[in-house]
Protein backbone atom coordinates (compact mmCIF):
# COMPACT_ATOMS: atom_id res chain seq x y z
CA UNK A 1 0.00 0.00 0.00
CA UNK A 2 2.61 2.51 1.16
CA UNK A 3 6.30 1.90 0.81
CA UNK A 4 9.20 4.21 1.57
CA UNK A 5 12.47 3.24 -0.02
CA UNK A 6 15.68 4.84 1.31
CA UNK A 7 14.03 8.24 1.76
CA UNK A 8 16.41 11.00 2.85
CA UNK A 9 15.54 14.64 3.37
CA UNK A 10 16.68 17.67 5.36
CA UNK A 11 14.34 20.34 6.54
CA UNK A 12 15.59 23.00 8.93
CA UNK A 13 16.91 21.18 11.97
CA UNK A 14 15.08 17.95 11.11
CA UNK A 15 16.31 15.23 8.82
CA UNK A 16 15.47 11.77 7.58
CA UNK A 17 18.17 9.21 6.89
CA UNK A 18 17.44 6.32 4.52
CA UNK A 19 13.97 5.77 5.87
CA UNK A 20 12.62 2.45 4.62
CA UNK A 21 9.41 0.72 5.66
CA UNK A 22 6.14 -0.44 4.21
CA UNK A 23 2.58 -0.40 5.43
CA UNK A 24 -0.04 -2.92 4.34
CA UNK A 25 -3.53 -2.02 3.22
CA UNK A 26 -5.84 -1.52 6.20
CA UNK A 27 -3.01 -1.58 8.71
CA UNK A 28 -2.84 0.74 11.72
CA UNK A 29 0.81 1.72 11.63
CA UNK A 30 2.33 3.77 14.44
CA UNK A 31 5.55 5.76 14.11
CA UNK A 32 6.94 6.09 17.61
CA UNK A 33 9.76 8.40 18.52
CA UNK A 34 10.80 11.26 20.79
CA UNK A 35 10.11 14.92 19.95
CA UNK A 36 12.33 16.16 17.14
CA UNK A 37 13.00 12.71 15.69
CA UNK A 38 11.58 13.71 12.29
CA UNK A 39 8.19 12.01 12.63
CA UNK A 40 6.15 14.89 11.21
CA UNK A 41 8.58 15.18 8.33
CA UNK A 42 7.90 11.54 7.38
CA UNK A 43 4.15 12.15 7.35
CA UNK A 44 4.46 15.33 5.31
CA UNK A 45 6.70 13.54 2.85
CA UNK A 46 4.17 10.71 2.47
CA UNK A 47 1.48 13.37 1.94
CA UNK A 48 3.59 14.85 -0.85
CA UNK A 49 4.26 18.17 0.90
CA UNK A 50 8.01 17.64 0.56
CA UNK A 51 9.81 15.98 -2.29
CA UNK A 52 12.58 13.91 -0.68
CA UNK A 53 16.12 14.70 -1.71
CA UNK A 54 16.77 11.00 -2.20
CA UNK A 55 14.69 7.84 -2.30
CA UNK A 56 11.22 6.90 -3.49
CA UNK A 57 7.71 6.69 -2.17
CA UNK A 58 5.34 4.08 -3.56
CA UNK A 59 1.59 4.26 -3.20
CA UNK A 60 -0.33 1.19 -4.34
CA UNK A 61 2.82 -0.08 -6.00
CA UNK A 62 3.25 3.04 -8.15
CA UNK A 63 6.11 5.48 -7.74
CA UNK A 64 4.41 8.56 -6.28
CA UNK A 65 7.56 10.46 -5.28
CA UNK A 66 6.78 13.45 -7.51
CA UNK A 67 2.99 13.32 -7.24
CA UNK A 68 1.60 16.60 -5.80
CA UNK A 69 -0.38 16.31 -2.54
CA UNK A 70 -3.74 17.19 -4.09
CA UNK A 71 -3.48 14.12 -6.34
CA UNK A 72 -2.67 11.59 -3.58
CA UNK A 73 -6.03 11.26 -1.82
CA UNK A 74 -4.45 11.30 1.62
CA UNK A 75 -6.10 12.75 4.73
CA UNK A 76 -3.86 14.59 7.18
CA UNK A 77 -4.60 15.60 10.77
CA UNK A 78 -2.13 17.72 12.72
CA UNK A 79 -1.59 17.96 16.46
CA UNK A 80 -2.59 21.65 16.40
CA UNK A 81 -5.74 20.78 14.36
CA UNK A 82 -4.91 23.42 11.69
CA UNK A 83 -8.54 24.21 11.01
CA UNK A 84 -9.31 27.05 8.61
CA UNK A 85 -10.05 29.87 11.08
CA UNK A 86 -12.15 31.87 8.60
CA UNK A 87 -14.59 29.04 7.94
CA UNK A 88 -17.32 27.47 10.06
CA UNK A 89 -17.11 23.83 11.12
CA UNK A 90 -19.38 22.91 8.23
CA UNK A 91 -17.30 24.87 5.70
CA UNK A 92 -14.09 23.37 7.04
CA UNK A 93 -15.39 19.86 6.48
CA UNK A 94 -16.88 20.69 3.08
CA UNK A 95 -13.59 22.16 1.80
CA UNK A 96 -12.15 18.92 0.41
CA UNK A 97 -15.39 18.02 -1.34
CA UNK A 98 -15.67 21.47 -2.91
CA UNK A 99 -12.13 21.14 -4.21
CA UNK A 100 -13.27 17.92 -5.88
CA UNK A 101 -16.10 19.86 -7.54
CA UNK A 102 -18.76 17.61 -6.07
CA UNK A 103 -22.40 18.70 -6.45
CA UNK A 104 -23.68 20.93 -3.67
CA UNK A 105 -26.42 18.56 -2.57
CA UNK A 106 -24.01 15.67 -2.28
CA UNK A 107 -21.53 17.81 -0.34
CA UNK A 108 -24.25 18.63 2.18
CA UNK A 109 -25.22 14.99 2.63
CA UNK A 110 -21.64 13.81 3.06
CA UNK A 111 -20.75 16.60 5.49
CA UNK A 112 -23.85 15.90 7.55
CA UNK A 113 -23.19 12.18 7.78
CA UNK A 114 -19.55 12.58 8.81
CA UNK A 115 -20.53 15.21 11.42
CA UNK A 116 -23.08 12.76 12.81
CA UNK A 117 -20.59 9.93 12.92
CA UNK A 118 -17.98 11.86 14.96
CA UNK A 119 -20.62 13.63 17.04
CA UNK A 120 -20.12 17.29 16.11
CA UNK A 121 -23.39 18.14 14.36
CA UNK A 122 -24.28 20.65 17.09
CA UNK A 123 -21.10 22.61 16.27
CA UNK A 124 -21.97 22.99 12.58
CA UNK A 125 -22.14 26.81 12.40
CA UNK A 126 -19.42 27.57 14.96
CA UNK A 127 -15.99 28.98 14.12
CA UNK A 128 -12.89 26.98 15.18
CA UNK A 129 -11.73 29.61 17.69
CA UNK A 130 -14.84 28.96 19.79
CA UNK A 131 -14.24 25.20 20.11
CA UNK A 132 -12.38 23.19 22.75
CA UNK A 133 -9.29 21.17 21.80
CA UNK A 134 -11.20 17.90 21.65
CA UNK A 135 -13.95 19.43 19.50
CA UNK A 136 -11.41 20.96 17.14
CA UNK A 137 -9.66 17.61 16.77
CA UNK A 138 -12.95 15.92 15.90
CA UNK A 139 -13.59 18.56 13.25
CA UNK A 140 -10.08 18.06 11.85
CA UNK A 141 -10.72 14.31 11.77
CA UNK A 142 -14.08 14.78 10.03
CA UNK A 143 -12.47 17.13 7.50
CA UNK A 144 -9.86 14.49 6.65
CA UNK A 145 -12.34 11.59 6.58
CA UNK A 146 -15.02 13.21 4.45
CA UNK A 147 -12.90 12.96 1.30
CA UNK A 148 -12.75 9.19 1.90
CA UNK A 149 -8.95 9.10 1.71
CA UNK A 150 -7.06 5.95 0.82
CA UNK A 151 -4.64 6.74 3.63
CA UNK A 152 -5.15 8.63 6.88
CA UNK A 153 -2.12 10.38 8.39
CA UNK A 154 -2.32 11.44 12.03
CA UNK A 155 0.40 13.68 13.44
CA UNK A 156 0.32 13.40 17.26
CA UNK A 157 -3.47 13.76 17.09
CA UNK A 158 -4.00 13.28 20.83
CA UNK A 159 -0.98 14.99 22.35
CA UNK A 160 -2.51 18.42 22.92
CA UNK A 161 -5.63 17.06 24.66
CA UNK A 162 -6.41 16.56 28.34
CA UNK A 163 -6.25 12.91 29.54
CA UNK A 164 -10.00 12.24 29.49
CA UNK A 165 -10.59 13.69 26.03
CA UNK A 166 -7.50 11.89 24.85
CA UNK A 167 -8.85 8.55 25.96
CA UNK A 168 -12.25 9.07 24.33
CA UNK A 169 -10.67 10.21 21.06
CA UNK A 170 -8.29 7.25 21.13
CA UNK A 171 -11.29 4.94 21.30
CA UNK A 172 -12.86 6.97 18.50
CA UNK A 173 -9.77 6.43 16.31
CA UNK A 174 -9.91 2.73 17.04
CA UNK A 175 -13.59 2.59 16.13
CA UNK A 176 -13.14 4.58 12.92
CA UNK A 177 -10.30 2.33 11.85
CA UNK A 178 -12.36 -0.75 12.57
CA UNK A 179 -15.40 0.54 10.68
CA UNK A 180 -13.63 2.07 7.68
CA UNK A 181 -10.59 -0.15 7.61
CA UNK A 182 -8.48 2.53 6.02
CA UNK A 183 -4.72 2.41 6.07
CA UNK A 184 -3.65 4.66 8.91
CA UNK A 185 -0.26 6.04 9.90
CA UNK A 186 -0.25 7.56 13.35
CA UNK A 187 2.75 9.45 14.68
CA UNK A 188 3.25 9.74 18.43
CA UNK A 189 5.79 9.89 21.24
CA UNK A 190 3.31 8.27 23.62
CA UNK A 191 3.89 4.57 24.28
CA UNK A 192 0.41 3.89 25.66
CA UNK A 193 -1.07 5.30 22.46
CA UNK A 194 1.24 3.13 20.37
CA UNK A 195 0.48 0.00 22.39
CA UNK A 196 -3.28 0.40 22.33
CA UNK A 197 -3.62 1.26 18.64
CA UNK A 198 -0.79 -0.22 16.61
CA UNK A 199 -0.73 -3.29 14.41
CA UNK A 200 2.88 -2.44 13.63
CA UNK A 201 5.25 0.07 15.18
CA UNK A 202 8.21 1.79 13.60
CA UNK A 203 10.57 3.34 16.13
CA UNK A 204 12.37 6.40 14.83
CA UNK A 205 15.31 8.07 16.55
CA UNK A 206 17.13 11.10 15.14
CA UNK A 207 15.68 10.70 11.66
CA UNK A 208 16.45 7.00 11.41
CA UNK A 209 13.97 4.14 11.52
CA UNK A 210 15.62 1.71 13.92
CA UNK A 211 13.02 -1.04 14.31
CA UNK A 212 9.77 -2.00 12.59
CA UNK A 213 7.89 -4.71 14.47
CA UNK A 214 4.70 -5.68 16.24
CA UNK A 215 4.12 -3.74 19.43
CA UNK A 216 4.97 -6.79 21.55
CA UNK A 217 8.33 -7.18 19.90
CA UNK A 218 9.20 -3.48 20.06
CA UNK A 219 8.41 -3.30 23.77
CA UNK A 220 9.91 -6.63 24.78
CA UNK A 221 12.63 -7.33 22.24
CA UNK A 222 14.19 -3.98 21.34
CA UNK A 223 16.98 -4.35 18.79
CA UNK A 224 19.39 -2.09 20.63
CA UNK A 225 20.00 -0.10 23.79
CA UNK A 226 18.65 3.21 22.41
CA UNK A 227 15.26 1.67 21.63
CA UNK A 228 15.30 -0.19 24.93
CA UNK A 229 15.80 3.10 26.78
CA UNK A 230 13.04 4.78 24.77
CA UNK A 231 10.41 2.06 25.22
CA UNK A 232 11.08 1.75 28.95
CA UNK A 233 13.16 -1.42 29.09
CA UNK A 234 15.09 -0.06 32.03
CA UNK A 235 17.31 -3.05 32.67
CA UNK A 236 20.10 -3.33 30.13
CA UNK A 237 22.84 -5.57 31.52
CA UNK A 238 26.10 -6.27 29.79
CA UNK A 239 27.35 -9.83 29.99
CA UNK A 240 29.14 -12.73 28.34
CA UNK A 241 27.67 -16.10 27.41
CA UNK A 242 29.24 -18.89 29.43
CA UNK A 243 27.26 -21.81 28.09
CA UNK A 244 24.22 -22.79 26.06
CA UNK A 245 22.48 -26.08 26.85
CA UNK A 246 19.58 -26.77 24.49
CA UNK A 247 18.71 -23.10 24.27
CA UNK A 248 19.09 -22.30 27.98
CA UNK A 249 21.91 -19.82 28.17
CA UNK A 250 24.00 -18.88 31.16
CA UNK A 251 25.25 -15.28 31.07
CA UNK A 252 28.05 -14.01 33.35
CA UNK A 253 27.57 -10.34 34.22
CA UNK A 254 30.50 -9.99 36.62
CA UNK A 255 28.44 -9.85 39.84
CA UNK A 256 25.98 -12.67 39.12
CA UNK A 257 24.84 -15.11 36.48
CA UNK A 258 21.58 -14.94 34.55
CA UNK A 259 19.64 -17.82 32.98
CA UNK A 260 17.99 -16.90 29.72
CA UNK A 261 16.48 -18.49 26.63
CA UNK A 262 18.35 -17.74 23.44
CA UNK A 263 19.87 -19.38 20.39
CA UNK A 264 23.05 -17.35 20.83
CA UNK A 265 25.93 -19.68 21.65
CA UNK A 266 28.74 -17.40 22.69
CA UNK A 267 30.02 -13.84 22.86
CA UNK A 268 29.34 -10.50 24.49
CA UNK A 269 25.64 -9.70 24.87
CA UNK A 270 23.14 -7.11 26.13
CA UNK A 271 20.44 -8.54 28.39
CA UNK A 272 17.12 -6.63 28.35
CA UNK A 273 14.51 -7.02 31.11
CA UNK A 274 11.40 -4.86 31.48
CA UNK A 275 11.11 -3.48 35.04
CA UNK A 276 7.55 -4.80 35.40
CA UNK A 277 8.85 -8.35 34.76
CA UNK A 278 10.85 -8.29 37.99
CA UNK A 279 9.32 -9.63 41.20
CA UNK A 280 10.60 -8.31 44.55
CA UNK A 281 10.63 -10.56 47.61
CA UNK A 282 12.17 -10.65 51.09
CA UNK A 283 13.54 -14.18 50.77
CA UNK A 284 14.91 -16.05 47.81
CA UNK A 285 11.93 -17.35 45.87
CA UNK A 286 11.35 -21.02 45.25
CA UNK A 287 9.46 -20.65 42.02
CA UNK A 288 9.60 -21.22 38.32
CA UNK A 289 11.58 -18.02 37.95
CA UNK A 290 15.10 -19.16 37.14
CA UNK A 291 16.78 -15.97 38.32
CA UNK A 292 16.67 -14.59 41.86
CA UNK A 293 19.30 -11.97 42.57
CA UNK A 294 20.09 -10.40 45.94
CA UNK A 295 20.40 -6.64 46.23
CA UNK A 296 19.97 -3.60 48.48
CA UNK A 297 17.37 -0.93 47.61
CA UNK A 298 19.08 2.37 46.81
CA UNK A 299 16.17 4.46 45.61
CA UNK A 300 12.34 4.46 45.46
CA UNK A 301 10.42 6.87 43.19
CA UNK A 302 6.66 7.18 42.77
CA UNK A 303 5.38 7.13 39.16
CA UNK A 304 1.63 7.61 39.39
CA UNK A 305 0.12 4.32 40.58
CA UNK A 306 3.42 2.42 40.67
CA UNK A 307 6.79 2.80 42.30
CA UNK A 308 10.18 2.37 40.72
CA UNK A 309 12.74 0.56 42.84
CA UNK A 310 16.42 0.74 42.06
CA UNK A 311 18.83 -1.79 43.63
CA UNK A 312 22.59 -1.89 44.04
CA UNK A 313 22.71 -5.03 41.85
CA UNK A 314 21.95 -2.72 38.92
CA UNK A 315 18.35 -3.87 38.49
CA UNK A 316 15.23 -1.70 38.39
CA UNK A 317 11.75 -2.99 39.19
CA UNK A 318 8.21 -1.58 39.12
CA UNK A 319 5.92 -2.48 42.05
CA UNK A 320 2.57 -1.32 43.42
CA UNK A 321 2.01 0.72 46.54
CA UNK A 322 0.47 -2.38 48.14
CA UNK A 323 3.67 -4.33 47.62
CA UNK A 324 5.73 -1.56 49.23
CA UNK A 325 3.50 -1.66 52.32
CA UNK A 326 3.17 -5.46 52.56
CA UNK A 327 6.90 -6.06 52.24
CA UNK A 328 7.89 -2.94 54.18
CA UNK A 329 10.19 -1.87 51.38
CA UNK A 330 12.49 1.07 52.02
CA UNK A 331 15.90 2.37 51.04
CA UNK A 332 18.64 0.17 52.50
CA UNK A 333 16.53 -3.00 52.77
CA UNK A 334 17.96 -6.18 51.31
CA UNK A 335 15.63 -7.97 48.87
CA UNK A 336 15.62 -10.52 46.07
CA UNK A 337 14.83 -9.58 42.49
CA UNK A 338 13.41 -12.54 40.56
CA UNK A 339 12.54 -12.92 36.90
CA UNK A 340 11.82 -15.74 34.48
CA UNK A 341 14.28 -16.84 31.85
CA UNK A 342 11.51 -16.24 29.31
CA UNK A 343 11.17 -12.57 30.31
CA UNK A 344 14.64 -11.87 28.99
CA UNK A 345 15.58 -10.57 25.60
CA UNK A 346 19.17 -10.75 24.49
CA UNK A 347 21.15 -9.20 21.64
CA UNK A 348 24.75 -9.54 20.60
CA UNK A 349 26.82 -6.55 21.66
Amino acid sequence: MIALDEVSHEWGEFCLKNVTFSVDRGEYFVILGPTGAGKTLILETIAGLHVPREGHIFLDGKDATDLPPEKRNIGLVYQDYSLFPHMTVEENIAFGLKMRKIAKKEVEINVQSIMDSVGITHLKTRFPSTLSGGEQQRVALARALVIDPAILLLDEPLSALDPRTRESLREELKRIHKVRGMTTIHVTHDQTEALSLADQIAVILEGEVIQVDTSFKVFNEPVNERIAAFVGVENVIKGKIVSNKDGVVLVETGKYRIHALSNLVEGEVNVFIRPESIIISEVRLKSSARNSIKGKITNITQLGATFRIRMDNGLTALVTNQAIEDLGLGVGKTVYASFKATAIHMTRR
Binding site: A47, L49, P68, E70, L76, S82, L83, F84, H86, A144
Partner: protein
Protein backbone atom coordinates in the same frame (compact mmCIF):
# COMPACT_ATOMS: atom_id res chain seq x y z
CA UNK B 1 -10.30 48.29 53.61
CA UNK B 2 -11.22 49.22 50.07
CA UNK B 3 -9.31 52.49 50.27
CA UNK B 4 -6.15 50.80 51.47
CA UNK B 5 -6.64 48.25 48.73
CA UNK B 6 -6.91 50.94 46.09
CA UNK B 7 -3.86 52.70 47.50
CA UNK B 8 -1.74 49.57 47.56
CA UNK B 9 -3.04 48.84 44.08
CA UNK B 10 -1.89 52.26 42.94
CA UNK B 11 1.45 51.70 44.62
CA UNK B 12 1.99 48.45 42.78
CA UNK B 13 1.07 50.17 39.51
CA UNK B 14 3.44 53.06 40.14
CA UNK B 15 5.74 52.18 37.26
CA UNK B 16 2.87 52.08 34.79
CA UNK B 17 1.50 55.39 36.10
CA UNK B 18 4.81 57.18 35.68
CA UNK B 19 5.26 55.74 32.22
CA UNK B 20 1.75 56.80 31.31
CA UNK B 21 2.40 60.41 32.31
CA UNK B 22 5.75 60.56 30.52
CA UNK B 23 4.40 58.80 27.45
CA UNK B 24 1.38 61.05 27.10
CA UNK B 25 3.71 64.01 26.50
CA UNK B 26 4.43 62.72 23.01
CA UNK B 27 0.77 62.25 22.20
CA UNK B 28 -0.01 65.73 23.48
CA UNK B 29 2.81 67.17 21.40
CA UNK B 30 1.42 65.69 18.19
CA UNK B 31 -2.15 66.65 18.98
CA UNK B 32 -1.20 70.16 20.01
CA UNK B 33 0.77 70.91 16.85
CA UNK B 34 -2.09 69.86 14.59
CA UNK B 35 -4.89 71.20 16.74
CA UNK B 36 -3.20 74.59 17.02
CA UNK B 37 -3.05 74.97 13.26
CA UNK B 38 -6.57 73.75 12.57
CA UNK B 39 -8.00 75.82 15.41
CA UNK B 40 -6.24 79.03 14.36
CA UNK B 41 -7.35 78.58 10.80
CA UNK B 42 -10.99 77.71 11.43
CA UNK B 43 -11.57 80.18 14.25
CA UNK B 44 -9.31 83.12 13.43
CA UNK B 45 -9.38 82.97 9.62
CA UNK B 46 -12.41 81.05 8.47
CA UNK B 47 -12.69 83.14 5.34
CA UNK B 48 -9.20 82.17 4.21
CA UNK B 49 -10.16 78.53 4.71
CA UNK B 50 -13.40 78.89 2.72
CA UNK B 51 -11.47 80.58 -0.05
CA UNK B 52 -9.20 77.54 -0.24
CA UNK B 53 -12.20 75.20 -0.31
CA UNK B 54 -13.61 77.14 -3.25
CA UNK B 55 -10.29 77.34 -5.07
CA UNK B 56 -10.40 74.83 -8.00
CA UNK B 57 -6.61 74.66 -8.04
CA UNK B 58 -6.55 73.55 -4.39
CA UNK B 59 -9.29 70.98 -4.87
CA UNK B 60 -7.74 69.53 -8.03
CA UNK B 61 -4.32 69.28 -6.33
CA UNK B 62 -5.82 67.37 -3.39
CA UNK B 63 -7.73 65.03 -5.69
CA UNK B 64 -4.60 64.53 -7.77
CA UNK B 65 -2.67 63.63 -4.60
CA UNK B 66 -5.25 61.05 -3.53
CA UNK B 67 -5.50 59.62 -7.05
CA UNK B 68 -1.74 59.40 -7.72
CA UNK B 69 -1.15 57.75 -4.36
CA UNK B 70 -3.98 55.34 -5.05
CA UNK B 71 -2.31 54.30 -8.33
CA UNK B 72 1.03 53.90 -6.57
CA UNK B 73 -0.61 51.75 -3.90
CA UNK B 74 -2.31 49.63 -6.56
CA UNK B 75 1.07 48.91 -8.18
CA UNK B 76 2.59 48.17 -4.76
CA UNK B 77 -0.21 45.68 -4.03
CA UNK B 78 0.01 43.89 -7.37
CA UNK B 79 3.80 43.55 -7.28
CA UNK B 80 4.32 43.53 -3.50
CA UNK B 81 1.89 40.77 -2.54
CA UNK B 82 3.79 37.94 -4.30
CA UNK B 83 7.07 39.36 -3.01
CA UNK B 84 5.76 39.49 0.56
CA UNK B 85 4.49 35.91 0.31
CA UNK B 86 7.83 34.60 -0.90
CA UNK B 87 9.64 36.46 1.88
CA UNK B 88 7.23 35.09 4.49
CA UNK B 89 7.33 31.47 3.34
CA UNK B 90 10.79 30.76 1.98
CA UNK B 91 14.38 31.00 3.09
CA UNK B 92 16.87 31.58 0.34
CA UNK B 93 20.38 32.81 -0.15
CA UNK B 94 20.47 36.61 -0.01
CA UNK B 95 17.07 37.00 1.67
CA UNK B 96 18.54 39.44 4.21
CA UNK B 97 19.84 41.56 1.36
CA UNK B 98 16.44 41.63 -0.33
CA UNK B 99 14.77 42.63 2.93
CA UNK B 100 17.29 45.42 3.46
CA UNK B 101 16.76 46.68 -0.08
CA UNK B 102 13.01 46.87 0.54
CA UNK B 103 13.65 49.06 3.59
CA UNK B 104 16.07 51.41 1.84
CA UNK B 105 13.41 54.01 0.82
CA UNK B 106 12.55 54.45 4.52
CA UNK B 107 16.13 55.34 5.37
CA UNK B 108 17.36 57.57 2.54
CA UNK B 109 16.38 61.26 2.37
CA UNK B 110 13.47 61.62 -0.02
CA UNK B 111 15.03 64.46 -1.97
CA UNK B 112 17.83 61.99 -2.72
CA UNK B 113 15.28 59.43 -3.87
CA UNK B 114 13.75 62.12 -6.11
CA UNK B 115 17.12 62.99 -7.64
CA UNK B 116 17.84 59.30 -8.27
CA UNK B 117 14.47 58.76 -9.91
CA UNK B 118 14.91 61.87 -12.03
CA UNK B 119 18.34 60.78 -13.16
CA UNK B 120 16.97 57.42 -14.23
CA UNK B 121 13.69 58.47 -15.81
CA UNK B 122 14.29 61.91 -17.38
CA UNK B 123 13.49 61.97 -21.09
CA UNK B 124 17.14 62.19 -22.14
CA UNK B 125 18.17 59.06 -20.24
CA UNK B 126 18.06 55.61 -21.87
CA UNK B 127 15.24 54.36 -19.68
CA UNK B 128 13.35 57.63 -20.04
CA UNK B 129 13.64 57.44 -23.81
CA UNK B 130 12.35 53.88 -23.84
CA UNK B 131 9.28 54.89 -21.84
CA UNK B 132 8.88 58.00 -24.03
CA UNK B 133 8.59 55.72 -27.04
CA UNK B 134 5.80 53.87 -25.22
CA UNK B 135 4.05 57.17 -24.65
CA UNK B 136 4.94 57.49 -20.98
CA UNK B 137 6.72 60.62 -19.74
CA UNK B 138 7.74 61.04 -16.12
CA UNK B 139 8.97 64.62 -15.98
CA UNK B 140 6.22 66.92 -14.77
CA UNK B 141 3.51 64.30 -15.27
CA UNK B 142 1.16 62.10 -13.30
CA UNK B 143 3.48 59.13 -13.91
CA UNK B 144 6.39 60.97 -12.33
CA UNK B 145 4.31 61.56 -9.23
CA UNK B 146 3.15 57.93 -9.12
CA UNK B 147 6.68 56.59 -9.48
CA UNK B 148 7.99 58.80 -6.68
CA UNK B 149 5.13 57.81 -4.39
CA UNK B 150 5.58 54.14 -5.26
CA UNK B 151 9.26 54.32 -4.37
CA UNK B 152 8.64 55.66 -0.88
CA UNK B 153 5.48 53.72 -0.01
CA UNK B 154 6.48 50.22 -1.18
CA UNK B 155 8.20 49.24 2.11
CA UNK B 156 5.08 50.03 4.11
CA UNK B 157 2.95 47.66 2.05
CA UNK B 158 5.49 44.86 1.62
CA UNK B 159 6.39 44.73 5.32
CA UNK B 160 2.76 44.71 6.46
CA UNK B 161 1.86 42.02 3.92
CA UNK B 162 4.86 39.90 4.88
CA UNK B 163 3.89 40.06 8.55
CA UNK B 164 0.36 39.10 7.58
CA UNK B 165 1.51 36.02 5.67
CA UNK B 166 3.92 35.09 8.44
CA UNK B 167 1.09 35.09 10.95
CA UNK B 168 -0.60 32.24 9.07
CA UNK B 169 0.56 28.76 10.06
CA UNK B 170 1.88 27.07 6.89
CA UNK B 171 0.29 23.84 8.14
CA UNK B 172 -3.11 25.31 7.28
CA UNK B 173 -2.01 25.63 3.66
CA UNK B 174 -0.58 22.11 3.75
CA UNK B 175 -3.85 20.66 4.99
CA UNK B 176 -5.65 22.48 2.17
CA UNK B 177 -3.25 20.83 -0.29
CA UNK B 178 -3.95 17.34 1.06
CA UNK B 179 -7.68 18.08 0.78
CA UNK B 180 -7.28 18.54 -2.95
CA UNK B 181 -6.38 22.21 -3.38
CA UNK B 182 -3.70 23.11 -5.90
CA UNK B 183 -1.06 25.62 -4.82
CA UNK B 184 -3.12 28.44 -6.38
CA UNK B 185 -6.34 27.29 -4.78
CA UNK B 186 -4.70 26.97 -1.36
CA UNK B 187 -3.42 30.53 -1.79
CA UNK B 188 -6.65 32.23 -2.76
CA UNK B 189 -9.08 30.09 -0.76
CA UNK B 190 -7.11 29.94 2.48
CA UNK B 191 -4.05 32.18 2.66
CA UNK B 192 -5.48 35.29 1.02
CA UNK B 193 -8.71 35.47 3.05
CA UNK B 194 -6.68 35.04 6.24
CA UNK B 195 -4.13 37.70 5.30
CA UNK B 196 -6.54 40.18 3.74
CA UNK B 197 -6.84 42.36 6.84
CA UNK B 198 -3.06 42.80 7.00
CA UNK B 199 -2.90 43.46 3.27
CA UNK B 200 -5.63 46.07 3.53
CA UNK B 201 -4.07 47.93 6.44
CA UNK B 202 -0.69 47.77 4.67
CA UNK B 203 -2.30 49.30 1.59
CA UNK B 204 -3.86 52.07 3.67
CA UNK B 205 -0.44 52.81 5.22
CA UNK B 206 1.16 52.88 1.78
CA UNK B 207 -1.54 55.18 0.46
CA UNK B 208 -1.11 57.55 3.41
CA UNK B 209 2.65 57.52 2.89
CA UNK B 210 2.18 58.37 -0.79
CA UNK B 211 -0.14 61.27 0.01
CA UNK B 212 2.37 62.73 2.44
CA UNK B 213 5.31 62.53 0.02
CA UNK B 214 6.87 65.82 -1.02
CA UNK B 215 10.64 65.61 -1.48
CA UNK B 216 10.78 62.84 -4.05
CA UNK B 217 7.82 64.15 -6.04
CA UNK B 218 9.02 67.74 -6.37
CA UNK B 219 12.31 66.62 -7.92
CA UNK B 220 10.64 64.81 -10.78
CA UNK B 221 7.28 66.55 -11.11
CA UNK B 222 6.77 70.09 -9.85
CA UNK B 223 3.75 70.18 -12.12
CA UNK B 224 1.02 69.05 -12.01
CA UNK B 225 1.05 70.21 -8.41
CA UNK B 226 0.12 67.70 -5.74
CA UNK B 227 -1.15 69.22 -2.52
CA UNK B 228 2.17 69.12 -0.58
CA UNK B 229 3.91 70.87 -3.51
CA UNK B 230 1.13 73.47 -3.73
CA UNK B 231 1.42 74.11 0.00
CA UNK B 232 5.17 74.57 -0.32
CA UNK B 233 4.74 76.87 -3.35
CA UNK B 234 2.19 79.04 -1.55
CA UNK B 235 4.35 79.10 1.57
CA UNK B 236 7.33 80.44 -0.37
CA UNK B 237 5.25 83.00 -2.30
CA UNK B 238 2.50 83.98 0.17
CA UNK B 239 3.74 82.77 3.55
CA UNK B 240 1.57 81.17 6.22
CA UNK B 241 -1.53 83.07 5.20
CA UNK B 242 -1.61 81.51 1.77
CA UNK B 243 -0.36 78.01 2.64
CA UNK B 244 -2.05 77.23 5.93
CA UNK B 245 -5.63 77.01 4.60
CA UNK B 246 -4.54 74.42 2.04
CA UNK B 247 -2.67 72.48 4.71
CA UNK B 248 -5.69 72.44 7.00
CA UNK B 249 -7.96 71.30 4.19
CA UNK B 250 -5.55 68.51 3.25
CA UNK B 251 -5.38 67.34 6.87
CA UNK B 252 -9.15 67.33 7.24
CA UNK B 253 -9.68 65.44 3.98
CA UNK B 254 -7.08 62.81 4.94
CA UNK B 255 -8.56 62.54 8.42
CA UNK B 256 -12.04 61.86 7.07
CA UNK B 257 -10.80 59.38 4.44
CA UNK B 258 -8.78 57.36 6.94
CA UNK B 259 -11.54 57.35 9.52
CA UNK B 260 -13.89 55.93 6.91
CA UNK B 261 -11.35 53.26 5.96
CA UNK B 262 -10.72 52.35 9.58
CA UNK B 263 -14.39 52.08 10.37
CA UNK B 264 -15.02 50.00 7.30
CA UNK B 265 -12.32 47.49 8.31
CA UNK B 266 -13.84 47.37 11.80
CA UNK B 267 -17.26 46.68 10.33
CA UNK B 268 -15.77 44.08 8.04
CA UNK B 269 -14.09 42.32 10.96
CA UNK B 270 -17.24 42.30 13.03
CA UNK B 271 -19.14 40.62 10.23
CA UNK B 272 -16.69 37.74 10.19
Amino acid sequence: MSITKTLSGAKRQRLSLIFLVVGSLLVLFTLFVLFNMVFRQLVLDLNGFLEAVNDPLVISSILLTLYASFLATLIAVVLGTPLAYVLARHDFFGKNVVESVIDVPVIIPHSVAGIALYALLQSRSAVGTAFYNLGIVFEDSLWGIVVAMLFVSTPFYVNAAREGFQSINPRIERVARTLGASQWQAFYKVTLPLAIRHLFSGAVMAWARGISEFGAVIMIAFYPMIAPVLIYYRFTTQGLKGSQPVAVLLILVCFVVFMVLRLSTKYWERRK
